[in-house]
């Protein structure tokens, strides 16, 4: 079955999709993203593991999550957005912005002293650390990421030609099945 589909795919001039398995090599972008995801996951695992110590989680444990979470989310987003051998192109900028925003937001909340009180200055109605989390971590990415997705969709994510190629492939499979 697979070989027959291979032939049909070749007939559709989709050669890159049926290159011999040994020809496959991970692109640099994907390798970096995967390694970042693994390192970030390991950092998060260490943070959780440290909570089982007799004295409880050490002070550095939340920092591993504060940096590991943006790393893991950034890694998997880059993996998903990478297109063939072309990498992520212009999306590098919004991805970098969001990773830095998340890491900075969590870090600021961890680093600043817990000084909330009735006399605290309010930032858009909230004390500083909560405002950084709500407006920085919770709202800033909304302004950037979905817009970047839409603006780069036609060049970086999906084209009508892509959909047509996949439809042809699906039709070829259906014909084979009949």
């Amino acid at each position: 079955m697979s070989t027959t589909v291979d032939e049909h795919v070749r007939g559709l001039h989709l050669e890159h999709a049926v290159a011999a398995p040994e020809a496959y090599s991970e692109t640099r972008t994907k390798r970096v993203a995967r390694v970042a995801l693994i390192i970030a996951t390991c950092a998060i695992a260490v943070a959780y593991g440290s909570a089982f110590l007799p004295a409880g989680a050490p002070a550095w444990a939340p920092w591993l999550l504060a940096l590991g979470i943006p790393g893991a989310l950034g890694g998997i987003m880059v993996l998903g957005a990478s297109r063939g051998r072309g990498g992520i192109g212009r999306l590098a900028w919004p991805f970098a912005f969001v990773i830095i925003t998340l890491a900075a937001g969590f870090s600021v909340a961890l680093a600043l002293p817990a000084s909330e009180s009735a006399s605290s200055d309010l930032w858009l109605g909230l004390p500083l650390r909560a405002a950084v989390i709500l407006y920085g971590v919770g709202l800033l990415p909304i302004v950037v990421l979905p817009v970047a997705y839409a603006l780069t969709f036609d060049t970086q994510t999906l084209t009508a030609a892509d959909v047509e190629r996949v439809r042809q492939l699906g039709n070829a499979r259906k014909e084979l099945a009949q």
Binding site: P62, P127, I133, V166, G170
Partner: protein, 498 residues
């Protein structure tokens, strides 16, 4: 924080009237959808023919469940700002899901006519075993989710109509079942559109009302800071590790929630994915305004004596609605809560039926003859099992509900979300990670429930299982990498490279 205990009775003419009008609309939509459901593809994925706006609103509706209206504000009331870390990931999860899963799953649906999440795993790894095992994991998680949502439905319907929680469960389940069986996911989607719209309207109105009633967010914050400053610290009353752990589990775990991921198959035109993340994110922000607004304002109202201290955190929303907001707004919100629970139940019934009639038979090398008829039958059986569990399992229902999210995350994120984007992932790695997620989640949650074992502060079974299944996935794929690329079908590989 799941809706389990009885809520205050709201059975007044205005509330009952809005409730009846709500159910009448549900019935009308269901009759319309039932006439358009003719094949298994119609029943499980709406014939791959849903438009952008409908799919977006339906997806928002399914994402939030009753937790956003009752449990969430209650959690803020109890733990402070830390509870926001459950919903803050929405700033990245929708667009992350679009990049990681939406395009590839929708194109797999185009090329192969796939209908279920396990279908995608089976196709990616050319493995009926992986498809079956992920189906089992989904089914286990669904039992918990269904039971807790069925109970929540009973509690809310009892609050509106005063029929008792037991009858509320069966009344709500009967209505949901009727439209699920007759119209499948098509009825579900268009009911979700109605329900999601209702939830968004209710959420925005309540948010604006409580801000006005509290004198603005600044005044609400001042009231809280004067008596309980830790409440508005970034981690609330939890540790930083616990709050950040919420963010990790709910951000990364979103990529494994079948009720959301499954909907990618349904979009009529793949090119419409362009605006899907933006619209869904904006929709979620609207629906979640109530979560934040009610949570902080009830805290302030209790502190300044405008509301009596709550008997339980889940009373936050009902207490506010009964004592502060106009009755019509309260009726709208309660219908919105009923809508949220019914929407979640419908989605899970449909996914569970697809596992039983489609994925598990494929795993055993068989195909069911008439998937539409068997799908309808499975829908009835699953709904009845969930209702019976909800009515008779007592405190166990909370346990069942807790592990649903974590189980989906730990079993599906590595094999599905990473696997569809990394050609180096192997079938063995996928099977090992799904098994790890299933076993670790069940073992840890069961041990914790029966107090055999206590987690340290900030650590949850969901988080541990997710991290372990990811690491197992990478490690086993690495060890078996010689089998990686050759095991991918050419059409799947083409879609992975797009």
């Amino acid at each position: 924080m799941l809706i389990q205990a009885a809520l205050p009775r709201m059975a007044q003419p205005a509330v009952i009237g809005v409730g009846i009008a709500y159910f009448a609309v549900i019935v009308a939509i269901s009759v319309w959808a039932a006439r358009r459901t003719r094949t298994a593809s119609d029943f499980f994925v709406a014939g791959h023919g849903i438009g952008l706006v409908a799919l977006t609103v339906a997806s928002v509706s399914t994402s939030v469940s009753g937790f956003a209206f009752i449990g969430g504000p209650g959690l803020i009331y109890a733990t402070g700002f830390a509870a926001m870390f459950i919903v803050l990931p929405a700033s990245v999860t929708n667009v992350m899901g679009a990049w990681v899963l939406a395009k590839r799953m929708r194109l797999l649906g185009e090329a192969r006519g796939l209908m279920t999440v396990p279908d995608a795993i089976g196709a990616r790894y050319r493995s009926p075993a992986a498809q079956g095992l992920s189906g089992v994991a989904i089914l286990v998680g669904i039992i918990g989710y269904m039971a807790t949502n069925a109970l929540a439905m009973g509690v809310v319907i009892n609050a509106i109509f005063g029929v008792g929680i037991g009858w509320g469960i069966w009344l709500g389940m009967s209505v949901t079942l009727a439209y699920s069986v007759a119209g499948g996911i098509l009825a579900g989607i268009y009911n979700d559109v109605f329900q999601g719209t209702l939830m968004a309207v209710a959420s925005v109105l309540v948010f604006l009302f409580v801000l006005d009633a509290g004198g603005g967010l600044g005044e609400i914050s001042r009231t809280i800071l004067a008596s309980d400053p830790k409440f508005l610290g970034p981690w609330g009353k939890l540790t930083p590790l616990a709050a950040l752990s919420f963010f990790f589990v709910f951000a990364m775990g979103s990529l494994g929630q079948p009720q959301g991921v499954h909907k990618y198959y349904m979009l009529k035109d793949p090119m419409q994915l362009k605006w899907y993340p933006l619209l869904k994110t904006l929709g979620l922000v609207l629906v979640l305004l109530l979560y934040f607004g009610v949570g902080v304002s009830v805290k302030a109202f209790v502190l300044n004596g405008r509301l009596a201290p709550l008997a339980a955190p889940d009373q936050a929303t009902p207490a506010l609605l009964l004592n502060v907001t106009p009755l019509v707004l309260a009726a709208l919100v309660f219908s919105g809560i009923a809508a949220a629970t019914m929407s979640a139940v419908n989605s899970f019934i449909n996914i569970g039926a697809a596992v039983v009639t489609h994925d598990l038979p494929i795993a055993f090398g068989r195909r069911v003859g008439n998937e539409l008829a068997w799908g309808r039958a499975a829908t009835v059986v699953i709904a009845i099992i969930a209702a019976v569990i909800a009515q008779h399992s007592g405190a166990m229902v909370a346990f069942l509900g807790i592990f649903g999210w974590g189980l989906f995350a730990s079993t599906l994120v590595p094999a599905l979300a990473v696997g569809l984007n990394w050609e180096g992932a192997t079938r063995t790695g996928a099977l090992a990670s799904i098994a790890t997620g299933l076993v670790v989640t069940l073992a840890l949650e069961t041990s914790a429930y029966f107090k055999v074992f206590t987690f340290p502060a900030g650590v949850t079974a969901s988080a541990v299982a997710l991290v372990l299944s990811l690491l197992v996935f990478f490690a086993v794929s690495r060890l078996t990498r010689s089998a990686a690329v050759g095991a991918i079908d050419p059409d799947v590989r083409l879609i992975m490279e797009m």
